[in-house]
């Protein structure tokens, strides 16, 4: 018999769960933020876990939402959700722990493989940009400074029209 995945509740776009299940998903800080026994998941985390069959999401009335319905729900508030999800998923599959970055934009903090979350800082700052999108010179300057001051490597994830991702290490150089 296969074990039923734990159930989280979605309110608006906030996904959370409590109890033993919350502890289990949290497992050493790999997913979400645990506050007073309540685990809050980022939209991309919820999507990833649902897609993996490790989580079920229901609305406050108990009606389940599948992966596709969740994507639709999140995209109403965040048009970049799909790009974010692709990057999140790709890095997770490669064994990295991925957390939300600061500020707006598709920015993540990424820990090295096997990192002890909570006792060491993230190693990379990853920002995503989809083919056809552009970004400001000022934005690049801002996150490059941010990465440098927090001693992280800045990685740019470029997503092509089929969702393929290529990564570039960005460094500001003084010539």
């Amino acid at each position: 018999m296969t074990e039923e995945p734990p159930t989280a509740v979605i309110e608006d776009t906030e996904v959370s769960l409590t109890g033993v299940a919350a502890e289990k998903i949290y497992q050493g800080g790999k997913y979400g933020e645990l506050e007073k026994g309540k685990l809050k998941l980022m939209p991309v985390e919820a999507l990833y876990l649902v897609k993996q069959g490790k989580l079920k999401v229901v609305d406050p009335e108990g009606v389940p939402l599948d992966f596709q319905e969740l994507v639709s729900r999140f995209s109403e508030k965040d048009p970049l959700i799909w790009a974010r999800f692709l990057i999140y998923q790709d890095l997770r599959r490669r064994g990295y722990t991925v957390k939300a970055g600061y500020g707006k934009g598709a920015v993540f903090r990424v820990y090295r493989r096997g990192a002890k979350i909570g006792s060491e800082p993230a190693r990379y700052l990853v920002f995503g940009v989809a083919e056809g999108e552009t970004f400001d010179v000022a934005f690049l300057a801002k996150i490059a400074d941010e990465a440098r001051s927090s001693q992280k490597d800045l990685i740019l994830a470029v997503i092509d029209r089929q969702g393929d991702i290529t990564y570039y290490d960005v460094s500001r150089v003084s010539l």
Partner: protein, 187 residues
């Protein structure tokens, strides 16, 4: 040869030509300015004793350094300001190109056109023919957005051509030139 030598160039349409072979020799040998007309890889002094074509960037920089006077065909002096206006019409990104060109020259690099390498500038420590691996600098203007295609190209060129490909931007507030390198990263 005198250490400080003011050369003269004539403006021909929007092209800038040095006619005196002594001036050509001086400018090329002191910082690799210009291109001797019809000589692709100058090796000897004889190769340089001909007309020298300066790019507008070079001419302006040399004028700023008081190493060059530019005149029209009748021998009337052309001001730096006037030349800048003419040059701006010849290249959409001229203003930003000049800021980067100047920054690199002031840092002591030899800065040559980089079009054939896929960027704006080929930058040498010593000079072409002396160090063989220039790095390539491409300028993204301050009021323009960065398209990821440019990053991909930069990363690709660094990876395959084994040349360093650097993107230069100008901070809109401070006007400070910033350089970024993009290297393909295996996750």
């Amino acid at each position: 040869m005198p250490k400080y030598h003011v050369s003269e160039a004539r403006l021909l349409g929007s092209r800038i030509i040095v006619w005196n072979p002594e001036d050509s020799l001086f400018l090329y040998k002191n910082g690799f300015y210009g291109k001797p007309v019809g000589v692709s890889k100058p090796k000897t002094d004889e190769d340089l004793k001909t007309q020298l074509e300066l790019s507008p960037l070079e001419a302006l920089y040399l004028m700023e350094k008081q190493l060059l006077k530019v005149k029209d065909l009748r021998g009337k002096s052309i001001s730096k300001k006037r030349l800048f206006e003419i040059a701006k019409k010849s290249h959409r990104r001229f203003n930003d190109l000049y800021l980067v060109y100047k920054d690199l020259r002031e840092k002591g690099y030899v800065v040559r056109p980089g079009l054939k390498f896929g960027g704006d500038f080929a930058v040498y420590l010593m000079g072409p023919g002396i160090d063989h691996a220039p790095f390539i600098v491409h300028v993204i203007p301050q009021n323009e957005k960065i398209d990821p295609v440019e990053i991909v190209r930069a990363g690709r060129l660094t990876h395959t051509v084994r040349k360093k490909f650097v993107i230069a931007t100008i901070d809109p507030q401070s006007k400070e030139v910033r350089y970024y390198m993009f290297m393909w990263w295996k996750p």
